[in-house]
């Protein structure tokens, strides 16, 4: 018994020991790096020149067809924006199907079909492949480019262009492109209302006829299809595609500046500065520095454990995130380091960006950083292989960039072979920290001077055009003189004084909804009434009379405080300029600014309690062209017409963060000096 007991205890001990052998303080080591088997794409070429890649993957009964055109980048000039319309227009109906029919047939088989100016993509379950190919081929051969679809797209495009003019991210992207590549380069040109309005159906048709040619096209087939079946279906659907000569284009290579320069867009309402420090770089896939550039970027600012993030966010708290990128491109690539930072720390943040760029180039990277970057990139390379389209991309790139056949098969091997010295050399080859374009979109009056330490400051407009730096030639100009000349310009003191009241109705269209704004001004008795009506419903109204103001919205009415009343009053007069002096407002002239291309005097008007509005008066005409105020945003005035001897702006464009798109209102009716009763203000 005892023996058994002992052996039992022993075996128990042994068992305990064997468990205890697991030393949990040691992390398991990595196993031998797995061999990355990259599926081979099979290829064949049709007589018309169409090159086909087939990546068979029958894990799932799906198949996708991606048609890609390889053409040179285009300078679209006075039709900038054209290529952006081509894809949607291609799928907007064919000679066989209206747009609705096409949508319904695609949805009916649970498929996808889309296009761009250089591609058509279709995918579906295997069993619907014939149908989806039929639809794809129909779009490729028979698009009709309906005028009404172009009109719709144009409208959408103009709407988004309008809102992008006030979007700091969009402004920053236009600025960097323009400053780095110039507006005469495909990557630097900018879409404007004018260029978008220039685009015709004939242009799109002409583009289609010029560039949709099999001899510049690749077709990648990925999924449940082998080469022999691919040959059959490709011949069936794409052999009839007629080849043709396609024009080629070359461009001058953009240069880096001799020394760093600063590009600034003044957006006075900004509380943050969008900093983007950029430089063009000649880099494409397959170049000697390509793989090392991935590692350099990963260490500099590729992720949330990279240097820029650790410095600007974790250490300094200047921003929510700071990143970098090094892009490769056949024509020209770019290096970019960017963050959105609080206005006050704009210059400090630029100092840190430059410090990190310098440190990378001068002191290089550490062994530990390099190892981490390698694991990180190898991991995401491995994960990307899960998607069969990655293999198709590899095959495409191998062809497009004329890469060695085993370029991707040995990609990780090559990456792992890089030493600290290699990466340090690549950093020096790629980046020149003293030849950067340092761009900023932010409050110019707060940041312009502070940025001068980094290089010559060039001012740009929100469309990426050089802003006219306007010197005040007449040093004796004052705010009161500007106001005087405005009164003169609209008709003279006599005529202005004769205007005591006005009643007007404005109409606008916001994303298809009719908006009406009714306003009644009684300047002589300081009464004001305003109503905003959307599709027949009063959305909001305000009334000011007897020294009191109320605002109503959605059935709720709020009384203004005295302070709010005084502030609202600043914008509640039909011709406020005639009353500034009497009301005890102070005025300050803040130079000449560029307002959408027109030089204008900027006058800051403050009431006794410190509330401000800012008006801009055109230098040449003397007319008021813009009003800025914190509460209601920006209003632009144009189309001045004479009414009762006074010029009145008939077109008001309002922009505010509260509005999804700028509101373009036109005065539909205007009565000067009408007889008014109290009900007119309610």
């Amino acid at each position: 018994m005892k023996k058994i007991a002992i052996s039992f205890v022993l075996s128990f001990l042994v068992a305990v020991v064997s468990y205890a052998q697991l030393d949990r303080t040691q992390f398991p080591k990595s196993g031998p790096a797995p061999e990355i088997k990259i599926g081979e794409a099979e290829t064949f070429t049709l007589d018309n020149g169409l090159k086909v890649f087939v990546v068979k993957n029958d894990k799932l009964p799906r198949v996708s067809f991606t048609l890609v055109l390889e053409r040179d980048p285009l300078l679209e000039g006075d039709k900038a924006g054209l290529t952006g319309f081509v894809g949607e227009m291609m799928t907007s109906g064919t000679t066989n199907r209206t747009k609705d029919q096409l949508d319904e047939e695609v949805d009916f088989i649970g498929a996808s079909l889309s296009a761009s100016s250089t591609s058509i993509f279709a995918s579906s379950l295997k069993k619907h492949q014939a149908k989806v190919l039929e639809l794809m081929a129909d779009v490729l051969y028979n698009p009709v480019f309906p005028q009404e679809e172009l009109d719709k797209l144009r409208k959408q495009s103009l709407t988004s262009l309008a809102s992008s003019k006030d979007d700091p991210g969009a402004i920053s992207s236009r600025l960097t492109n323009a400053i780095m590549f110039g507006k005469d380069h495909p990557y630097g040109e900018v879409e404007t209302e004018e260029t978008i309005n220039n685009i015709t159906v004939a242009d799109i048709k002409n583009y289609y006829e010029t560039f949709f040619k099999p001899n510049i096209a690749y077709l990648a087939i990925v999924g449940d299809m082998d080469k022999s079946e691919a040959e059959k279906v490709v011949n069936e659907y794409f052999a009839a595609w007629k080849p043709g000569e396609v024009p080629t284009f070359t461009y001058e290579t953009p240069k880096r500046p001799e020394t760093s320069v600063v590009g600034l867009v003044d957006r006075s309402s900004s509380v943050q500065t969008n900093i983007n420090i950029v430089q063009p770089v000649e880099l494409q896939i397959g170049d000697e520095d390509y793989i090392s550039s991935r590692l350099v970027n990963q260490i500099l600012g590729g992720g949330s454990s990279s240097r820029l993030f650790m410095n600007l966010r974790e250490d300094k708290g200047y921003t929510y995130g700071a990143y970098s990128s090094i892009s490769s491109d056949k024509l020209i690539g770019r290096i970019s380091a960017n963050a959105a930072v609080r206005t006050e720390v704009t210059d400090s943040a630029v100092v840190q960006f430059i410090y990190e760029l310098d440190r990378l180039v001068k002191s290089g990277v550490t062994e530990e950083e390099l190892e981490k970057a390698k694991s990180n990139l190898a991991g995401s390379f491995g994960r990307s292989l899960e998607s069969p389209s990655t293999i198709a991309n590899f095959a495409l790139n191998t062809e497009r960039y004329n890469l060695p056949k085993d370029y991707y098969a040995t990609y990780l091997q090559k990456m792992n072979s890089y030493t600290v010295e290699d990466i340090n050399k690549a950093a020096v080859d790629l980046i020149q920290p003293d030849k950067m374009y340092i761009t900023a979109v932010g409050n110019g009056s707060e940041i312009k001077e502070k940025l001068a330490q980094f290089g010559e400051v060039r001012m740009f407009t929100n469309m990426g055009d050089p802003a006219k730096e306007i010197q005040m030639t007449d040093a004796s100009m004052t705010a009161s003189k500007v106001i005087e000349s405005y009164i003169q310009a609209i008709g003279g003191e006599e005529a202005v004084k004769a205007i005591k009241a006005a009643k007007l109705l404005m109409k606008a269209d916001v994303m298809g909804n009719a908006v009406e704004i009714a306003m009644t001004f009684d300047d002589a008795n300081m009464r004001f009434g305003q109503k905003t009506i959307v599709m027949g419903n009063v959305m909001q109204s305000s009334t000011m009379m007897d020294g009191k103001g109320v605002v109503s919205a959605g059935g709720q009415t709020i009384d203004m405080t005295d302070e709010q009343y005084e502030e609202a009053k600043m914008n509640a007069l039909f011709i406020p300029e005639a009353h500034y002096e009497v009301l005890g407002y102070s005025m300050e002239l803040d130079g000449i600014k560029d307002v959408e291309g027109t030089p204008a005097y900027k006058v800051i008007i403050s009431n006794p309690s410190g509330a401000k509005v800012i008006n801009y008066y055109a230098v040449d005409s003397g007319l008021k062209i813009k009003n800025e105020n914190e509460k209601s945003g920006d209003t632009f005035y144009s189309d001045y017409q004479e009414k009762n001897g006074v010029l009145v702006p008939m077109s008001w464009t309002m922009k505010s963060p509260m509005l999804p798109v700028p509101l373009e209102a036109k005065i539909e009716s205007l009565e000067i000096n009408p007889t008014l009763t109290e009900t007119d203000f309610k």
Binding site: R24, A33, K59, N376, R383
Partner: protein, 442 residues
């Protein structure tokens, strides 16, 4: 020759109704401590996804301590006895991986995707989390702040962000589904460290977990490593608390107005659903796709394109173990009264209830569902998650291979029937989300 052709055609016809799903192979085993393990081998890419599903969600919480399950999702990244605080993510990322987690009313799910030579690391990390995760004051304090920020970002600062909690609160009077996973900040603030530790001991135990490994693996080696790291983890001492509450059928509509920081009103309607495993779930899911799935769906076409009364309309079946809710939400176009929008939505629901759907629409619906199901198993992460859920909720990992069949059994009449049976106007919740500016003064 002719005969063969005819045969071919017949064979072709026969093969049409069979839906396109390929079988997903897997192996399973259990450890003595109750841990259930599912392995799926796929050697096409050298990656491996490792996941642990803990069968605990907000419904398992003490009504006085809501938000615990979700809070643990955060706490479980704090580290363990051997993993330094805050290092969990860095270790995984440093070996080339990514990771994430989520919490629902029913489950908490953790996963990491790594190069396949890091499987042992992944298993070690998950076993550390299950064996002796750090549940201490420092971690709780840190994560309380993070969860507060998450609340602000996702609920309080997010227009319409409170739709789910506000709807659940009214859709359930008895069942613990009445609170959302984010729970209550007051409860989390009031909880003692002992309560957190007890929750860990109660629910983060192997007998309440499903470990799933999918990717480029060797079955035998994987099993050996699983045993090496997970065998010593003790089984939970208590029976796992699972609420046994039947939500009574509502007979009266609940109607309310929520004032939120929004510009445009929204209309929310919610209908109680049968348990997730109920056969009617498939028809209900198809119904939601018929109503709002895609540009050519019934409500999107009618309300967004034609009438332009809604900016967006969506029907989402929130399927839950004990019976979830069918949420319809729509945001009104500018100047459209919520009442007007609601009337139009109700008209369309009534249309489906009275007239059903056309053969053409039904075929289209089947095609869309088929494509969706096939695509849900297109990645290792998707397969791991579907296998884990199949085991934990449906009680059978092979359910993953039966989903398509279940859908193919749904008839056109079923869809009309479930629309009538479950979209019951008298038992629903209706919420109007209105801009705060419209709130009448108190």
């Amino acid at each position: 020759m002719r005969k063969i052709t005819a045969l071919g055609i017949i064979a072709g016809m026969l093969s049409v109704p069979a839906l396109a799903q390929k079988k997903i192979e897997f192996k399973e085993f259990d450890l003595d401590n109750g841990l259930h393990v599912i392995m799926h081998q796929d050697q096409s890419t050298p990656i491996v996804v490792t996941s642990v599903l803990y069968h605990v969600g907000s419904k398992n919480e003490n009504p006085e301590r809501t938000g615990f399950a979700h809070f643990f999702e955060h706490l479980m990244f704090e580290g363990s006895e051997n993993i330094e605080r805050g290092q969990y993510m860095n270790i995984i990322q440093g070996r080339g991986g990514t990771l994430n987690a989520y919490t629902s009313n029913d489950i908490t799910y953790y996963y990491e995707s790594l190069p396949s030579n890091e499987l042992e690391l992944a298993l070690y990390m998950e076993s550390e989390r299950m064996l002796h995760s750090k549940v201490d004051e420092t971690g709780v304090e840190t994560q309380r702040e993070v969860v507060k920020e998450e609340r602000r970002q996702r609920y309080e600062n997010q227009p319409y962000g409170t739709i789910l909690p506000e709807t659940l609160k009214r859709a359930y009077s008895q069942h613990p589904y009445q609170w959302a996973p984010i729970g209550s900040m007051e409860h989390l603030n009031a909880a003692s460290i002992e309560e957190f530790q007890q929750f860990y001991k109660d629910f983060y135990v192997p007998n309440n977990a499903t470990l799933t490994i999918a990717g480029d693996i060797d079955y035998a080696q994987t099993e050996a490593w699983v045993k090496k790291y997970f065998s010593e983890i003790p089984m939970g001492k208590k029976e796992i608390y699972r609420p046994n509450v039947r939500e009574p059928k509502k007979t009266e509509e609940i109607r309310d107005v929520i004032y939120d920081n929004i510009q445009i009103p929204a209309v929310i309607q919610a209908y109680n659903l049968p348990p997730k495993t109920d056969a009617d779930s498939y028809a209900l899911s198809m119904l939601s796709t018929y109503l709002t799935g895609g540009a050519s769906s019934l409500m999107t076409k009618e309300l967004v394109d034609k009438q332009q009364k809604a900016l967006v309309v969506a029907a989402i079946p929130l399927e839950l173990e004990d019976g979830g809710i069918f949420i319809m939400y729509s945001i009104a176009n500018m100047g459209v009264e919520p009442k007007d929008l609601e009337t139009e939505i109700d008209k369309l629901i009534k249309q489906v209830q009275d007239e059903g759907l056309s053969d053409q629409d039904f075929t289209k619906l089947k095609n869309i569902m088929e494509n969706n199901i096939v695509s849900s198993n297109s990645s290792m992460a998707g397969i791991a998650e579907n296998l884990a859920e199949a085991h934990a909720i449906y009680g059978d990992a092979n359910y993953i291979n039966k989903v398509m069949d279940a859908y193919s059994k749904v008839t056109k009449e079923d869809i009309q029937r479930v629309a009538k049976e479950y979209l019951n106007l008298n038992g629903r919740v209706v919420l109007y989300y209105l801009p705060k500016a419209q709130q009448p003064a108190q």
